[in-house]
């Protein structure tokens, strides 16, 4: 049984923030959950997929976030509660639908959980998704604790149903991925026959009327928020400084205040319902202080909302000082931490604080450096992407026209770094590699002669590359797309997708054949094996130089991690050290200096290459690139 499906009201369990959100959805009685994976959101739907059969839910990995939101919305329209989850970039994909859905409204509770990634630890941007709440007039909740993650999610469904409007829940990495105690509630087991009420068409039109209704709903949300238990104050009646905070900022602020022993001087107003503002509550607190510090992740969202509100009411409130990201008091890029909040409080309130002796921090760093081996950001041992980039690198070098890779979102995004031999030169949204490459392909008429190779993974292909490919075919572009089919959504944790023959819940699904799709979209398709490095290099060169039009080369090899779980090694690898030239002219450590598979090690005693048996996955590629045939592969 899964930890989130325990039917044990009153019991306290240790849950990851994302599991708490999933539990909240279960306690709210959802029937449908649809999502596209993306860190730090993936475990919400991931854990629900594990209990789908047990609870009779429909849980799916949709091909992209927009479709996911549409699927969850359909459930709501038909009277069943629906959940949709995604990461911050995903909201951009879903936004076109979302910004019409606000006008049409919804029926049963519909909650959209968006997990933001402050500091962009596993993202291409550190977008603050809360902007969409303002943009589309959605109520916005931000959990600060694990218990709240569950409670808020659950309540969000009630609120959504109440208002007839989807509710956004914004979480951040430190809430989603940390663990804490959560007190469980009842799990309802409702059955309801879904029905779409045809007398209530769900259309955005007439826009002005619906817009007015939407504004009303939002005002109503503001009223409800005034008494929400997710908003509370901790501190003295008249604090010298008021911290207004939300989400993970609450824990950071609390820690700072306690550590600095400032509970008598600093008050914390923790807001869980960050849009629309609980205005009366904010007003009451503003009256009592002269100086306010805002602690929140990524953008000065609360900060600017409160300042706007203050500007409306400044006649009654008098002069205030506002500090935060917008004022430059806190860094406005990257992730916050308790240390950052502590140091700002020290500055503002002139208190001194010795966190830990300076040498302690130094020693801790030294010791951890000894314990943790240095691991540069790169592809795993035996990863087919390394071999693919090797072929790309050689093909582009031989081609000699200053070619480059237009990249996309997935493990292969690492192609911009040393592990992909720095071949990737553009990286934006899902599908943008193929889109950009299709655009570059139109520039030949103006004399552009650099070859461009688009790369995308299998999951990304279904997500957003198909329109780009269709466009390139239709508009007669010159495009070479390498479809790196590793049969997994590897970057986000091996979720199945339309090419894998499995659904989110582990059931069988039809395989949507990439080759057939690409052909149908007008591309010339070839198949290749990335482990055949020389052959792949030649194919790439031929397709770049001799074949006009839209070409797709499908390079198929299972992700090394998936392969490692299900199959044995292809080869036993061994370095014949007598043959290895090592640092001598003729090799200069090609395998450990340039190719750099983590399965290869530099044996400093012998001054020769070696194999790290524990890490090597036996793909055999290094044997093919060794100039002196010193690396031997033996079929297992």
């Amino acid at each position: 049984m899964s930890i989130i499906s325990q039917d044990a009201p009153g019991k306290t369990v240790l849950l990851m923030g994302n599991e708490a959100i999933a539990r909240g959805a279960l306690e709210a009685g959802i029937k449908v959950c649809a999502a596209y994976p993306g860190n730090p959101s993936s475990e919400i739907t991931g854990s629900l997929s594990g209990v789908a059969d047990e609870f009779g839910l429909h849980v799916e990995w949709s091909v992209n976030e927009k479709v996911a939101l549409e699927v969850a919305t359909a459930a709501s329209f038909a009277g069943l509660r629906g959940l949709c989850t995604m990461k911050q970039n995903g909201l951009n994909v879903a936004s076109d639908f979302l910004l019409n859905l606000n006008l049409s409204g919804c029926e049963a509770g519909l909650v959209l959980v968006v997990a933001d990634d402050p500091g962009a630890l596993s993202s291409t941007n550190e977008e603050d998704s809360r902007a969409f709440a303002k943009l589309g007039d959605f109520p916005l909740l931000e959990p600060a604790t694990f218990q709240e993650a569950k409670e808020m999610t659950k309540w969000a469904f009630d609120l959504s149903e109440d208002l007839g409007l989807p509710v956004l829940v914004r979480t951040v990495t430190r809430v989603s991925h940390a663990r804490g105690n959560v007190l469980l509630d009842e799990l309802p087991r409702l059955t309801k026959k879904p029905l779409f009420d045809t007398s209530k068409p769900r259309v955005a039109l007439p826009v002005l009327l619906n817009h007015e209704l939407l504004r009303d709903k939002l005002r109503r949300a503001g009223e409800v928020f005034e008494t929400s238990p997710f908003n509370f104050f901790r501190g003295p009646e008249k604090p010298e400084l008021l911290i207004i905070t939300c989400g993970s900022g609450w824990m950071y602020s609390l820690e700072a205040v306690i550590n600095l022993d400032l509970s008598e001087r600093v008050g914390i107003l923790k807001i869980g319902t960050t849009w629309p503002l609980p205005e009366q509550m904010v007003l009451n607190h503003l009256k009592k202080v002269k100086h306010v510090l805002f602690v929140e992740e990524v953008n000065p969202f609360l900060e600017n909302s409160v300042k706007e509100f203050f500007a409306q009411n400044c006649g009654d409130l008098g002069v205030k000082r506002f500090s935060g990201k917008a004022s430059g008091t806190l860094p406005d890029i990257g992730e916050l931490s308790p240390d950052i909040v502590i140091s700002r409080l020290q500055d503002i309130l002139k208190v001194s604080y010795e966190p830990l002796p300076a040498e302690y921090a130094l020693r801790a760093k030294e010791i951890s450096a000894q314990l943790v081996p240095e691991r540069p950001l790169g592809f795993c041992a035996g990863c087919p992407h390394r071999a693919t980039y090797w072929a790309i690198k050689n093909a582009l070098a031989l081609d000699g026209r200053n070619g480059f890779v237009a990249g996309d979102i997935g493990c292969y995004s690492l192609g911009m770094g040393p592990s992909g031999f720095s071949q990737m030169k553009t990286l934006h949204a899902m599908g943008s590699g193929a889109g950009l490459a299709g655009g570059f392909g139109q520039l030949n008429a103006f004399g552009f002669d650099q070859p461009v190779i688009a790369v995308c993974g299998d999951s990304t292909f279904y997500h957003a590359v198909m329109p780009a490919l269709t466009n390139a075919s239709y508009n007669k572009s010159n495009l070479l797309l390498l479809l790196l089919d590793n049969s997994a959504t590897a970057m986000t944790g091996f979720q199945p997708h339309p090419g894998t023959g499995k659904t989110a819940t582990g059931h069988e699904a039809p395989i949507l054949d990439l080759e057939v799709i690409c052909k149908a979209l007008g591309a010339q398709v070839e198949m290749g094996d990335p482990f055949e490095v020389e052959g792949t290099t030649e194919t790439i060169l031929r397709l770049l130089q001799d074949v006009e039009g839209v070409k797709v080369l499908i390079l198929r090899r299972e992700c090394a991690l998936v392969r490692g779980r299900t199959q044995k090694k292809l080869f036993n690898m061994e370095v014949e050290q007598d043959l290895c030239l090592g640092e001598k002219c003729g090799c200069n450590r090609l395998c450990t200096r340039v190719f750099k598979c983590p399965g290869l090690i530099w044996d400093t005693i012998a001054d020769r290459a070696g194999i790290d048996e524990a890490i090597c996955t036996g793909c055999g590629v290094c044997a093919d690139i060794c100039p002196s045939l010193a690396i031997r592969k033996e079929v297992v």
């Binding site: 690198k393 050689n394 070098a397 031989l398 000699g400 031999f421 640092e583 001598k584 002219c585 003729g586 090799c587 200069n588 090609l590 340039v594 690139i625 100039p627």
Partner: protein
């Protein structure tokens, strides 16, 4: 320390001086020949490398090379050291038509293999799309396939480096002056070579004024002749100044000025027209269709030529005096131009083409008089 690959990049590639002789290719994984170019695949940071050591566009100390290979300083500034000069042609009609001029190169190579002087010869043949490619020839059929000149430069020495060799063959090489110079550098290198250079028993050098860049010349041919198969290509020197190209069934005459733009930039700094470090050098005889000029430079070259004469493999005649002096002039002119070009590129001071100041002055003044 010679600076290794980084020096090769900075001094040769970046100045566009590489002529793709292939001397640095197939020695390591970082360099590859592709469509007439030597391509860097990855960076190598060794402070010393064979690539730069063997490069004919790297540092060259003619005096030192000469001393090591011919036992004396570099003095013969026009056509290098020679033991014997004459003109000749192959007797066997099998070479006629396929060979470029008199077929002497092919006939001598054939004889050397037949007599066991060498077991194999590294030649240059036309690959797909006329791409010059090094070939290891072990019989007459191979030699025949490679007969005739390819006027684009290609990585002949890559085949020497790559093999495959058993390790005991004696090897002959036919190459352009840049290749012959590279072989001389390989032979005298102080680095651990790991190449079969010690087993190179015969070097036949070709005369060469310049070679063309493969890609741009191919584009030109395609534009001119479309998909017509290209047959023999020949050059008629001044006063004709033509490139004669057989495309399809027709012979076309193209003014040399139209192809000059495709001359490899690295050829402009080459001071050697007659492959001065060969055993035997072979070129055309101006105004004598079907004959070759031969410069015999070493004892073993002399032996092979004598054998060829005695077995009536070639017939020879003295080279008329005016032809020899014309050859000297042309050769000197190439040197003078190379010195100027090297100076323009700042390579003279850096030790590329080390000639004594005196020799340089002499070359410059004499070739002016001759021109």
């Amino acid at each position: 320390m010679n600076g290794g690959f980084r020096a090769l990049e900075e001094k040769v590639f970046d100045r566009d001086l590489c002529v793709s002789c292939g001397a640095c290719v197939s020695l390591c994984p970082y360099l590859r020949s592709w469509q007439g170019r030597t391509v860097k695949l990855d960076d190598c940071d060794l402070a010393e490398g064979r690539c730069f050591d063997y490069c004919p566009r790297g540092r060259v100390d003619l005096d030192e090379l000469h001393r090591k290979l011919f036992g004396g300083p570099y003095k013969e500034m026009e056509i290098g050291k020679v033991l014997n000069v004459f003109m000749a042609r192959a007797r066997d009609s099998v070479w006629t038509g396929k060979a470029q001029n008199g077929g002497v190169v092919s006939a001598l190579t054939d004889l050397a293999i037949k007599e066991g002087i060498i077991d194999a010869a590294v030649l240059t043949g036309r690959g797909t799309n006329l791409l010059p490619k090094g070939h290891i020839a072990t019989d007459r059929e191979d030699i025949f396939a490679c007969a005739g000149s390819i006027y684009t430069s290609g990585p002949t020495l890559e085949a020497l480096n790559r093999g495959p060799w058993n390790g005991d063959e004696r090897i002959g090489v036919v190459g352009l002056p840049c290749m012959v110079l590279a072989l001389a550098k390989m032979r005298t290198s102080s680095l651990e070579t790991q190449t079969p250079i010690d087993r190179v028993e015969m070097v036949i050098g070709l005369f060469c004024t310049w070679a063309l860049d493969y890609k741009s010349f191919m584009a030109f041919l395609r534009e001119r002749f479309g998909d017509l198969p290209i047959g023999k290509v020949d050059i008629a020197p001044p006063p004709e100044r033509l490139m004669k190209i057989t495309a399809g069934d027709e012979l076309h005459h193209i003014p040399l000025d139209e192809v000059r733009g495709f001359i490899r930039s690295g050829c402009h700094v080459c001071a050697d027209m007659t492959s001065e470090f060969s055993d035997i050098s072979v070129g055309t005889v101006e105004g004598e269709e079907g004959w070759n000029t031969l410069l015999v430079r070493t004892e073993r070259g002399e032996e092979l030529v004598k054998l060829a004469e005695s077995q009536t493999v070639i017939e020879s005649r003295p080279l008329p005096g005016d032809k020899l002096s014309h050859l000297r002039e042309a050769s000197l002119l190439k040197k003078r131009r190379a010195i100027d070009a090297m100076r323009d590129r700042g390579g003279l001071e850096e030790g590329y083409l080390t000639l004594s100041q005196e020799l340089i002055r002499q070359i410059q003044s004499e070739s002016k008089e001759g021109a």
